[in-house]
C-alpha cells in the first residue's frame, strides 16, 4: 500500500515528528482494535477502502483540447486514446510496431480491388456513464458512432485537424463536406451494415487506412455528448476507453479507471513480448489479467526538464520521465547501449531508443520573402536563399549541444525509423558549408541589406530561446544581420501549433512523430492538398511531388513504392523547402515499482492501460514502528 504524503525536513521538525508519529500510532492502534472488535462500519460497506494505485508521469507539454477532432499533437493523443476507443491500436510490446484490433474484432476484410473495407466491432462495449445519455447510463458503442466521428473531421465548424488522413480517400466524404456537412445526410463511403458492422468505400486504394484508425483523430465519440457539451467536449471527454477523465488543467490531467471497461485478459505473446529484451520490466506480471491495472492515471505537464527530473528523483511524485539531456553524463554509464550508473540502476529502469520521428524546420512558402512570389525571378532567388540557409545550418553542433551526440541527423524527410529510409542518400544537405552558402547568396544577388527578416517562432522557454540564438548565430555566419533574425514566442505548444495551422509563422520549427511505420506519414507533410490547416505547414505545392505522392499512395509496400518515396524525398531536398532533420534518442527512466514498457513513439498513449504498480509494503511498517 502506498501512503500518500509529503516528506518533511527531519532536523527542522524532529520534535513534532516524534509527537505526530505517536499520535498516528495511537490512532492506528485504536483503529486496529475497533476493527477487530467490530466497532467499525457495517460489513460490506467498505470499511477501509484500499489505497488507490496511482501512476504519475511527466510530459513536457499540456494538451490544449481533449476533443479527438482537434487532437493534433502527441500530448492530446495520450489522453484521447485512453478516454476513447479507436478501432485499432498497436501491440504493446512488439518492436517494430504492429497493429492489432482494439474496438474492432479483427482486421478488416478488404475487397480484391482494395476499395471496400469491412470492419466488425466488438459487441457490448459501452460509453462511460454520463448525463448526456438517457438516464445517465452509457449506451453501447455502435458502427454509427464511428461514422459520426469521421464526419466531425469534415465539419468546418469543429475546426478539425485530422481530415487530412481521409481527405479525397473515402467516397462521398469530401462532397458531404462541400454540401454543408449536414449530419442527417449519408456519406456513400461510410455505411453501417448493422450495429456492429461497418463498411468503408474508398475512392482509390489506401494501404494505410487501417493504421489511420489507430489514431486519436478516429476515436469514437458519442453524438449525445457533442450535442450536450458542444465545444465543452474538449475538456470533458465521453468515451469508452480504459480511463475516464477526473480533472484537466494546464498542470495535469487526472483520469480514473473506467469500471465498465471490457474484460480482455492480456496475452503477452500476442502483444509481441520479447523476454530477452523486456523481461527486466516485470511485464510478465500482467499476463492473463484484464487491464487497466491502475486506479488513477496522472499526467503531469512539466515544461522544464529539470523540474520534471527533480520531481522524478524525489521519489514520491512522478514515476516516469524522459531523461533530461543535461543529466546524461551524470546518470548514464554508457550511451550505446544505454545503461545506468549503479546508484541509478538500483532505483530505476531505463530504456533508450531512436525516436520514430524527427525534428525539422520548414519554410512556410506562403511568405513571399523566401517562398512563393508573384515575380518568377524573385521566386528563383528565394529558392537560392532557402538553400543557402540549409547550408548554413549546423546539424553536427545541434546534435552535440542538445542531444549529447546521441541523435542521428539525416538528409530529407524519410526518417531512420521508417522502413523506407535510405542510408545511402547524399549527406550534402546536412553538412555545413558556410562558404558555399555565402557564395550562393552572393551569386543570387542577396546582400545583408536586401535579405528578408526571418521570424523564428518558438514556445517560451530557455531551451527554445537558445535554439533561436543558435539558429541566429548560424544565419549571421552566412550573412544575415543580427536584427534580421528575430524570435517570436508563444506561451505554449497549443498556441504555436495554432499559428502553424493558420500559416502565421514564416518558419515552422517542429517535431513530427510517425503515426504509423510508413514513410508516407512524413511525405504527406509536404503534399500540396494537405496545406494549412492540414499537416503541410510549409504550404508547399509541387505538382511533380504531389503526382508521385498520389501514385505511391495507392501502392502496397514494395520496391516500386520505395523508389517513388525516394524520388519525392529528393524533390524536397532540391527545392530546399525544409531544413531537415534529426531523430533524437529518447531515454526513459521509471521507478522500479512500476511495471511497464513506456513509449511515446508510434504506440502513443495506448500502453498506459497496461501499467501496473508493485505494492510498496515498506511504507506501512515504517509508520507502525515509529514511536
Amino acid at each position: 500500500m502506498k501512503i500518500v504524503g509529503k516528506k518533511f525536513p527531519r532536523k527542522a521538525i524532529s520534535v513534532l515528528f516524534v509527537g505526530l508519529n505517536r499520535l498516528i500510532s495511537a490512532f492506528l492502534a485504536i483503529f486496529l482494535v475497533c476493527s477487530l472488535a467490530g466497532c467499525g462500519p457495517p460489513s460490506g460497506s467498505g470499511a477501509a477502502s484500499p489505497a488507490l494505485k496511482t501512476f504519475h508521469f511527466a510530459m513536457d507539454q499540456a494538451p490544449t483540447t481533449l476533443d479527438p477532432v482537434q487532437g493534433a499533437n502527441i500530448y492530446a493523443n495520450f489522453v484521447i486514446v485512453n478516454a476513447y476507443d479507436t478501432l485499432y491500436s498497436y501491440q504493446y510490446l512488439a518492436r517494430p510496431y504492429l497493429l492489432k484490433p482494439n474496438l474492432a474484432v479483427d482486421f478488416p476484410t478488404v475487397s480484391a480491388d482494395g476499395l471496400i473495407y469491412t470492419f466488425r466491432l466488438k459487441k457490448g462495449v459501452r460509453f462511460i456513464d454520463d448525463p448526456c445519455f438517457p438516464g445517465g447510463r452509457g449506451r453501447e458503442v455502435v458502427a454509427e458512432d464511428f461514422i459520426y466521428s469521421i464526419k466531425r473531421q469534415f465539419d468546418p465548424e469543429n475546426q478539425p485537424q485530422g481530415a487530412w488522413l481521409w481527405q479525397g480517400r473515402i467516397t462521398g466524404l469530401d462532397e458531404w463536406k462541400a454540401a454543408g456537412s449536414d449530419y442527417a445526410q449519408p456519406v456513400s463511403g461510410l455505411r453501417a451494415i448493422d450495429e456492429h458492422t461497418l463498411e468503408i468505400r474508398l475512392t482509390r486504394p489506401y494501404p494505410q487506412l487501417t493504421a489511420t484508425l489507430a489514431q486519436g483523430y478516429s476515436a469514437l465519440v458519442p453524438r449525445e455528448a457533442v450535442e450536450k457539451y458542444g465545444k465543452g467536449l474538449g475538456v470533458r471527454p465521453v468515451g469508452s476507453g480504459p480511463f475516464r477523465l477526473v480533472s484537466y488543467d494546464t498542470a495535469r490531467v487526472v483520469m480514473e479507471r473506467n469500471p465498465n471497461y471490457r474484460q480482455e485478459p492480456v496475452d503477452l505473446a500476442a502483444e509481441g513480448y520479447n523476454p530477452a529484451t523486456q523481461k527486466f520490466s516485470g511485464v510478465e506480471a500482467i499476463q492473463g489479467r484484464s487491464p487497466p491495472f491502475i486506479d488513477r492515471l496522472e499526467f503531469n505537464f512539466i515544461n522544464e526538464s529539470s523540474a520534471s527530473w527533480s520531481s522524478f528523483t524525489k521519489g514520491d511524485e512522478v514515476q516516469l520521465t524522459v531523461l533530461p539531456i543535461e543529466q546524461i553524463d551524470r546518470v548514464l554509464a554508457s550511451k550505446r547501449p544505454v545503461t545506468l550508473r549503479p546508484e541509478y540502476a538500483a532505483k530505476y529502469h531505463v530504456y533508450g531508443g531512436l525516436e520514430a520521428g524527427f525534428v525539422f524546420t520548414a519554410f512556410n512558402m506562403d511568405y513571399p520573402e523566401f517562398g512563393y512570389n508573384p515575380d518568377p525571378e524573385r521566386e528563383r532567388r528565394n529558392q537560392a536563399l532557402r538553400c543557402a540557409m540549409l547550408k548554413g545550418y549546423d546539424w553536427e553542433a545541434r546534435n552535440h549541444s542538445w542531444y549529447f551526440g546521441l541523435g542521428e541527423y539525416f538528409p530529407g524527410i524519410i526518417v531512420p525509423a521508417s522502413p523506407e529510409f535510405d542510408p545511402a542518400l547524399s549527406r550534402a544537405s546536412v553538412t555545413r558549408d558556410v562558404a558555399g552558402a555565402r557564395k550562393l547568396l552572393k551569386d543570387n544577388g542577396w546582400t545583408p541589406d536586401n535579405l528578408p527578416t526571418i521570424v523564428y517562432g518558438t514556445t517560451a522557454g530557455t531551451t527554445e530561446r537558445l535554439f533561436f540564438e543558435q539558429f541566429r548565430a548560424w544565419m549571421r555566419d552566412i550573412g544575415f544581420p543580427r536584427a534580421k533574425v528575430v524570435q517570436k514566442t508563444y506561451a505554449n505548444f497549443g498556441d504555436i501549433s495554432r499559428a502553424w495551422k493558420r500559416s502565421q509563422l514564416p518558419l515552422v520549427a517542429k517535431g513530427w512523430g510517425l503515426d504509423y511505420p510508413d514513410a508516407e506519414n512524413t511525405l504527406q507533410l509536404f503534399y500540396g492538398p494537405n496545406a494549412s490547416p492540414g499537416s503541410n505547414d510549409a504550404n508547399w505545392k509541387n505538382p511533380e511531388y504531389d503526382r508521385l505522392y498520389e501514385e505511391s499512395s495507392v501502392l502496397q509496400p514494395s520496391p516500386e513504392r520505395t523508389a517513388l518515396y525516394h524520388r519525392m524525398n529528393q524533390i524536397v531536398l532540391d527545392d530546399c523547402v525544409a531544413i531537415t532533420g534529426i531523430s533524437r534518442t529518447r531515454i526513459y527512466l521509471w521507478h522500479k515499482n512500476v511495471i511497464a514498457v513506456p513509449d511515446r513513439e508510434i504506440l502513443g498513449g495506448f500502453w498506459l492501460k497496461y501499467v501496473d504498480l508493485k505494492p510498496e509494503p515498506a511504507n506501512i511498517p515504517a509508520l507502525v514502528k515509529g514511536g
Binding site: 522544464e304 526538464s305 529539470s306 527530473w309 533530461p324 543535461e326 543529466q327 553524463d329 551524470r330 553542433a397 552535440h400 549541444s401 542538445w402 517560451a460 522557454g461 530557455t462 531551451t463 530561446r465 537558445l466 540564438e469 543558435q470 541566429r472 548565430a473 548560424w474 549571421r476 543580427r482 528575430v486 524570435q487 517570436k488 514566442t489
Partner: protein, 296 residues
C-alpha cells in the same frame, strides 16, 4: 509667530554652506560610500563600453563549443551552444544599467510630479484620485501586474520597463506628497502665492527643487530595485525579450547546474551581487549625506 523655515536649496546662513555642499562633503568622508561609488562607476564604464561597442559585441556569437571551461580564450568558459559567458555577462551589465536608469529616471519623475500635485492640492479631488491610483497599484501583486502588462503589450520590448515604471513611482509619489504637504505651508511658498505666481510655477520652480534630496535617494533605490526585478522577471520569462541579462543567464544555468556546469550561474550571480551591493551602499551613503538631521 511661526518660525521661518528656509528652503533647503538656500544657503544655511548659520554655517554659510548649502545642503548640497554639505551633503557632498559628508559623502566624500564616507569611505564605504566612496568605495561603493567607485564600484558603481566601474560597472558603468563596463556598460558604457558595451553600449559603444568597445567590448562584448560578440555576446550572441558562437565562439566556442559546448561548455568549455575557463581559458584565456573564454575567461568564464562557454555555454551550452558555445557562446562566450564573459561577453554575455559584460553585455548584461549594459542591460542592467539600461533597465535601471530608464526605470529609475521615469519612475522618479512620475513619482515626483504626481506626488507634488497630490501634496500641493492635498484634500482636493486631485489628491484623492492620485491616492486612489497609488492604493490600487500597491494592491496588485507586482509579478502578476508585470505578467498582465507583458500580455497586453505582446512582443513590446518595453513591456517590462512599463510595468516597473507603472508601479515603482508609487513609493516616490507618497514620499514627495508628504514632503510637499510640509513645504506648501512654508512662508516662501505663501510669499509666492501672495505675489501672484501661478500654482504650476510654485510646484515646479519653488517646491519640487526642494525635494531633490529625496528624489536622489529614491532614484538610487529604484535603480537597484529595477535591476533585481529585471533579473527575476527575465528568469521567469517576462523580462528581456531580445538581448542578454543576468536573469536570462541564471535561467540558462538552471539546466547547466544540474549537469555540473556552474559558470553561467556564478558569472551572472556574482556580477549582479557586486552591482546591487555597491548601489545599495551608495544609496545608504546618499541618504546619510542628504539627511539634514544628521550632524556632519
Amino acid at each position: 509667530m511661526n518660525a521661518v523655515t528656509l528652503p533647503l536649496t538656500a544657503p544655511n546662513r548659520a554655517s554659510g554652506e548649502s545642503l548640497w555642499h554639505k551633503a557632498a562633503r559628508k559623502f566624500g568622508r564616507d569611505r564605504l560610500g566612496m568605495l561603493a561609488l567607485g564600484v558603481v562607476l566601474a560597472y558603468f564604464l563596463v556598460a558604457l563600453g558595451a553600449w559603444l561597442g568597445w567590448w562584448a559585441g560578440g555576446w550572441a556569437d558562437l565562439t566556442g563549443t559546448k561548455w568549455e571551461p575557463v581559458s584565456s580564450a573564454h575567461w568564464f568558459g562557454t555555454n551550452i551552444i558555445g557562446q562566450d559567458i564573459f561577453d554575455r555577462a559584460v553585455f548584461s551589465t549594459a542591460t542592467a544599467f539600461e533597465v535601471g536608469l530608464s526605470v529609475a529616471l521615469a519612475a522618479t519623475f512620475i513619482g515626483a510630479v504626481f506626488g507634488a500635485f497630490a501634496g500641493f492640492f492635498v484634500g482636493s479631488w486631485i489628491d484623492e484620485f492620485l491616492l486612489w491610483c497609488m492604493g490600487v497599484l500597491d494592491a496588485i501583486p507586482f509579478y502578476l501586474f508585470v505578467a498582465a502588462v507583458a500580455y497586453a503589450l505582446t512582443d513590446n520590448p518595453w513591456a517590462m520597463q512599463v510595468a516597473m515604471i507603472a508601479t515603482f513611482w508609487v513609493g516616490t509619489g507618497r514620499l514627495i506628497r508628504g514632503e510637499v504637504i510640509k513645504l506648501r505651508g512654508m512662508e516662501y511658498v505663501e510669499a509666492a502665492h501672495s505675489i501672484g505666481v501661478s500654482e504650476l510655477a510654485i510646484i515646479f520652480r519653488h517646491i519640487l527643487p526642494n525635494t531633490g534630496h529625496i528624489l536622489l535617494v529614491q532614484a538610487s533605490i529604484t535603480f537597484v530595485s529595477a535591476i533585481k526585478a529585471e533579473v527575476i522577471l527575465s528568469f521567469l520569462g517576462l523580462g528581456i525579450k531580445d538581448g542578454m541579462s543576468w536573469g536570462l543567464m541564471i535561467d540558462e544555468s538552471t539546466k547547466e547546474v544540474l549537469a555540473g556546469f556552474y559558470n553561467n550561474f556564478l558569472a551572472a550571480s556574482l556580477l549582479m551581487f557586486g552591482l546591487v551591493m555597491a548601489f545599495n551602499a551608495v544609496a545608504d551613503a546618499l541618504q546619510d549625506a542628504l539627511d539634514p538631521r544628521k550632524v556632519g
